[in-house]
Subunit: 335 residues, 2 copies
DNA sequence: ATGAAAGCGCTAACAC
DNA sequence: GTGTTAGCGCTTTCAT
């Protein structure tokens, strides 16, 4: 990089001191108009750019937020990033992204990098591998505000922003019931993710509220497209196969949908399917997938806004907030 | 944020000078083993984290690369980010993301923010609105290495990394011809994006190489799902409707596919379709979409690696490189 | 209306 | 083997 022009250069060329230049640049009233203009003119002429690094050091403030995310490629996460970037942009903050790639080790290192980089705050959604949260506690020890989104821990000094998984699942399953399903299967993630717990409970409650019995035989541990294709081939061939499927994410639901079509099962007549996410793909399959919109963009915005509020707060002894985004059922042709 | 512990704190508590502590922390051989250990022990005890900002200022180096991207939500772009982050992580670099949201204005501001933040290099794909590139030239003036990816400009002191659009399109169209298409339509983006130019030319060349005539009546300006749905309704109802469609991206191809199904046109028997991107959605539609894989992850990695090389190079007078990623045709059921 | 100087946290050249 | 000091670019207090 070329030697950057500094206020010192401007000062020397104009015969002023650096402090005068510094003040002139920010229109300090003490400085005469004439001087201000001369300074600014030379500044643009020389292509002067204030050096944020110097400011960061001086103010112990970087205007940067660190983002820890499992994987950017996932539609839901990328829409969250979109929301975060939006709010950051509006408030003159910068976003440093770190992917954990669902690796605990990498997440720990990422957090260290964030601390070292002196970000003003952290937005995080932890990896599937993460069961120990002491690396997050370290961040909190430094009094760097932390907001969890989507995948959250509750017994920490950190705010959380999630979508209401329970409610979303409830809506979807209730809908399947209203459409006449008597025998609804659940395709769900490993239980330790709070997310899947909520969706599981919503599923259960919807059944019970409608006089149906919850049956663990209908609960399958499966949350990917590939696995769904695999296990559905046998599930859907059973004598008393389900007449409805609720899956914890769209790709899983689509796996079921595909197999059903292969097997000649009519959707929605013989099998109704609902997913969770409202991804691009859900709009594109045939029949289009009924699903629950999680409003990732919104979630990202809310999380970022809350973080900025914490950053601007004086003291670190705030009571953590738990924001819940109400999801919405999007009814399409698969149900 | 809590007052962070600095080497000065460690020095005072131990009765050493800051320079000794500094050296001890990096295992400088001059320092006695005993001192080194004492220092390191106290450092971990106090939760010391080196302050990168101070280093950044001292070295005029931030180990940060700035990323300007039209929109993170797009699958192709998010897979590029994935590749970039991967390389950055491996090399102890950090990534600051800026979305232009396809807005020229915002892109200009983003570039200023990057310069101000003293990133060591910039990766950029410009917005659809961008026709004037002087903001990029400013970055080059500062001698900040710049690598364009996907959407590139050639007459600049900047490297470029793109997928071979011409070749990809050629493969797809040649394939359609081999499958028997006589009348292939092109759904393409506005011409000024180099991307669509290449894909257009590949389409044309494939036709000509196979003794077919290029006919502008078969070239439609359309590159979104919605538009594709709209215009296809009339195009596919025509007397001499096309028997093949090549679209510059998957979502457009999928729009065509949907309308064809609505109209009862059999795919692939009566109409063969190919897209470009190999998105998630392309695997999920019915019939699955034949498409061209652009290897976004790879492209991101290559772009980042090239940028890091430029950053580490001493002089800025390098000859820009133009890397071309060979795409691959993925044949599926739609053709 | 302007200047001098200290300081943000760290490193490295130069003492001793 | 350890300490002193200047300096990275900027702001700001305290002079003048």
């Amino acid at each position: 990089m070329k030697k950057q022009v500094t206020i010192k250069d401007i000062a020397q060329q104009l015969g002023f001191s650096v402090s005068t230049v510094s003040r002139a640049l920010k229109d300090h009233p003490d400085i005469s108009i004439k001087t201000r203009e001369a300074v600014k003119q030379l500044a643009t002429l020389l292509g002067y750019r204030p050096n944020r690094i110097a400011l960061n050091l001086k103010n112990s403030k970087t205007n940067t937020i660190g983002l820890i995310i499992p994987e950017v490629e996932h539609y839901f996460f990328s829409s969250i990033i979109n929301g975060i970037e939006e709010v950051a942009y509006e408030n003159n903050y910068y976003v440093m992204v770190f992917q954990s790639n669902e690796s605990y080790m990498r997440e720990v290192l990422n957090l260290q990098a964030l601390a070292t980089n002196r970000v003003d705050g952290v937005l995080a959604s932890f990896s599937k591998e993460t069961h120990n949260f002491s690396h997050f506690n370290q961040i909190i020890d430094y009094e760097i505000p932390l907001v969890f989104f989507d995948r959250v821990v509750n017994d920490m000094h950190a705010d959380t922003v999630v979508s209401d998984d329970f409610h979303g699942a409830y809506l979807a399953v209730e809908h399947l019931i209203k459409r006449g399903c008597k025998n609804i299967a659940l395709y769900s993630s490993p239980r330790h993710l709070q997310i899947s717990q909520g969706r599981h409970d919503g599923y259960k409650k919807a059944l019970e509220d409608n006089g149906m019995t919850y049956n663990t035989d209908l609960v399958y541990s499966c949350d990917t497209f590939e696995d769904a294709m695999k296990i559905s081939r046998s599930i859907l061939k059973k004598q008393n196969r389900p007449d409805g499927v609720f899956a914890v994410n769209d790709m899983t639901a689509i796996g079921v949908l595909k197999v059903a079509k292969e097997l000649g099962i009519k959707i929605p007549e013989e099998l109704k399917i609902a997913g969770f996410e409202n991804s691009r793909s859900s709009k594109v399959v045939d029949p289009e997938l009924t699903t629950v919109d999680q409003f990732g963009f919104d979630l990202g915005k809310k999380a970022a806004a809350l973080l900025l509020k914490r950053i601007n707060d004086q003291d670190f002894t705030y009571e953590p907030e738990n924001i819940v985004i109400k999801p919405k059922l999007v009814v399409r042709k698969s149900s």
